[in-house]
């Protein structure tokens, strides 16, 4: 996709001089690196700059319509948080339940079907699952809408209805990963020597699980959850595109098409920093939960 923003806005008929003029106003003529640092320092002051696209030509003269990137992002961010938040609330308990019970009844029919199910979901990319839902639940049997048209004024009930399909998709995809990781973490704990010792000391099955295994399990599980929240965040980009859901991911993709660079940069920054924070959190949990560090010698 060659060509830059200035040329794009002014259209094919732009003359060289007007392109130059627009370029210098937008700062596109400055060398990229100092531009980047300038942008970064502005970001830390809360100023994400102005969207390029707000300047698009309009019929009639309505003055300078450039919008602040921040104004553009905040509603989208709220939408994405809603989507991922609801998906997380559904996916996490389900995945933990499935994962833990599969580990407890290892190699049973239940375990094998649960594992098989998670294998299938893990192998299905978001656009596959998403379109299947659309086909089944929106087109053939119109239960839910195909496009999740959410805006500022949508009521909460309507929100749930409109975002049902994207939530299903995101949930299904993440659940598979979470279930597998949880299952293997629990199996790992159950094969520890101190679990055998507990059995030899007469502990009942219930005690072994609740009193002995679980206290050692919450840490790896917390890590699994945090890591999968990070995956979910990335997965939401595709899901938003499939359902045309007005979230940050959709915005970022759309802005690349329009070559609206400040917006792209801002979105990318938000994704990246959230991802980094979540991973940092997972590492931190791993460190804190180690009893050797909690209670030093």
């Amino acid at each position: 996709m060659p060509g830059d923003f200035a040329t794009e806005i002014l259209g094919q008929s732009a003359t060289k001089s007007s392109v130059e003029a627009l370029r210098s106003e937008l700062g596109l003529d400055k060398h990229p690196i100092p531009r980047y640092f300038e942008w970064l320092s502005n970001v830390f002051q809360g100023d994400f700059g102005s969207s390029f696209s707000g300047r698009s030509k309009v019929q009639g003269d309505q003055g300078d319509r450039s919008r602040l990137v921040v104004e553009l992002i905040i509603p989208r961010l709220k939408n994405t948080l809603f989507l991922t938040g609801v998906s997380a609330l559904v996916a996490i308990p389900l995945a933990l339940l499935l994962g833990i019970s599969a580990a407890l009844y290892r190699n049973s029919v239940y375990d094998r079907s649960a594992t098989g199910f998670s294998l299938v979901t893990v192998s299905s990319p978001e656009f596959f699952t998403g379109y299947i839902f659309i086909l089944l639940l929106a087109t053939l049997f119109p239960v839910f809408p195909t496009i999740a048209n959410v805006n500022e004024d949508t009521s909460l009930i309507d929100r749930f209805y409109l975002t049902a399909l994207p939530v299903f998709t995101l949930t299904l995809v993440t659940m598979g990963h979470m279930m597998r990781m949880t299952r293997s973490a629990i199996i790992n704990i159950l094969s520890s020597e101190y679990i055998e010792m507990a059995k030899l000391s007469g502990a009942t099955r219930y005690e072994v699980i609740v009193k002995h295994a679980l206290p050692n399990a919450w840490a790896p599980i917390a890590q699994v959850i945090t890591i999968n929240l990070a995956y979910m965040l990335i997965g939401s980009v595709v899901v938003e595109f499939v359902f045309n859901y007005q979230g940050i991911g959709r915005l970022m993709v759309g802005s690349v098409y329009n070559r609206d660079i400040p917006v792209v940069q801002a979105c990318a920054l938000i994704f990246a920093s959230t991802y980094v924070i979540l991973n940092l959190l997972a590492d931190l949990i791993g460190i804190i939960s180690n009893p050797r560090l909690l209670y030093p010698k």
């Binding site: 596959f128 299947i132 053939l140 792209v264 990318a268 994704f271 991802y275």
Partner: protein, 307 residues
């Protein structure tokens, strides 16, 4: 049960040891006991590989050959219809295997080489080289691959070469981490020290001592990352930044034909058309997962084989 200690011999020493089966025998046994899922996985994978290698001979039409009717229904000349420009969908599906598998395999292999070599070096030299490498890799790993690739491609342009190089470098971090952690487990064992004490060169220690002992987990990681790279490339293509037209790509085909879904009530095949390339990706991932699981089972089980 008495044995005269005077006639004690080292040769006849205790061993509940079964005679080692030759490699050929072991492979034969492994295959004969492979579960249905493993067979499914291997057969499916072979089909994809054949499609990738022999695409020009198998596909009924050309990859970019345009026909007069766009969105043609299934049947006749075009078993799966035509797409939005009028290209034969079936042929494009077959050619897409070549593009996707090729690019992803190259990227994964580059990642494997870079990551493993550096990982082993970091494991052997645990002082400042390890620190520098590990810190920089940690920083690189903190950035989500898809977002980063997305940005880089929008800046540098979405060419196949860029795709391979960017993903190759970003994914090498995963290989670094796993090869380093497994290698560290080997490096502390005395046989590596024995080699060092002999005065062996670094390359000997890496390739003849350590590598054979870390091969198994690396193979598994290759499979896992391969799937991840396929998904990343597909998501990027789906969003428009991956493999560029006129080259065929499964995920791009999903997006191109997504509009057909709404006609499912009238013609179910129309609704299915965009789902087929997506299902192809899912099937591939499933097949690879089955093979990986089976390989994991064998390599852990084999430890009991030779006691």
């Amino acid at each position: 049960m008495s044995e005269n200690t005077q006639s004690y011999s080292a040769k006849g020493e205790v061993s509940n040891i079964t005679k080692r089966r030759t490699r050929f025998e072991r492979i034969k046994i492994a295959f004969s006991k492979a579960p249905l899922s493993a067979w499914f996985g291997m057969i499916v994978l072979s089909i994809y590989l054949i499609a990738a290698f022999f695409a020009p001979f198998i596909a009924p039409h050309g990859e970019a050959e345009v026909f007069p009717v766009a969105y043609a229904p299934w049947g006749g000349e075009h078993l799966l219809g035509t797409d939005q420009i009028g290209r034969d969908i079936l042929s494009r599906l077959i050619f897409a295997s070549r593009n996707t598998l090729g690019i992803c395999f190259l990227a994964c292999t580059i990642a494997l080489f870079i990551g493993t070599i550096f990982g082993i070096i970091a494991a052997i030299d645990r002082s400042y080289i390890d620190q520098i490498l590990s810190r920089s890799i940690d920083t690189l790993m903190a950035i989500p691959v898809m977002i980063f690739t997305f940005i880089l491609l929008s800046v540098f342009g979405p060419s196949n070469l860029n795709l391979i190089l960017i993903l190759g470098v970003l994914e090498s971090t995963r290989f670094f981490r796993i090869s380093r952690s497994v290698a560290v487990g080997q490096v502390v064992l005395e046989y590596v020290e024995v080699a060092k004490l002999r005065g062996e060169k670094l390359s000997y220690i890496i390739f003849r001592e350590i590598l054979p002992n870390i091969a198994s987990p690396l193979i598994v990681e290759f499979g896992v990352r391969f799937i991840f790279i396929i998904f990343t490339v597909s998501s990027l293509s789906f969003l428009g930044l991956g493999i560029q037209p006129p080259a065929a790509d499964w995920a791009a085909m999903v997006r191109e034909n997504a509009i057909l879904i709404q006609y499912a009530q009238y013609d179910i095949t129309a609704g299915l058309t965009p789902l087929i390339p997506a299902a192809i990706i899912a099937l591939l991932a499933l097949a690879i997962n089955f093979v990986i699981d089976w390989y994991l089972y064998i390599t852990s089980g084999l430890k009991d084989d030779i006691k």
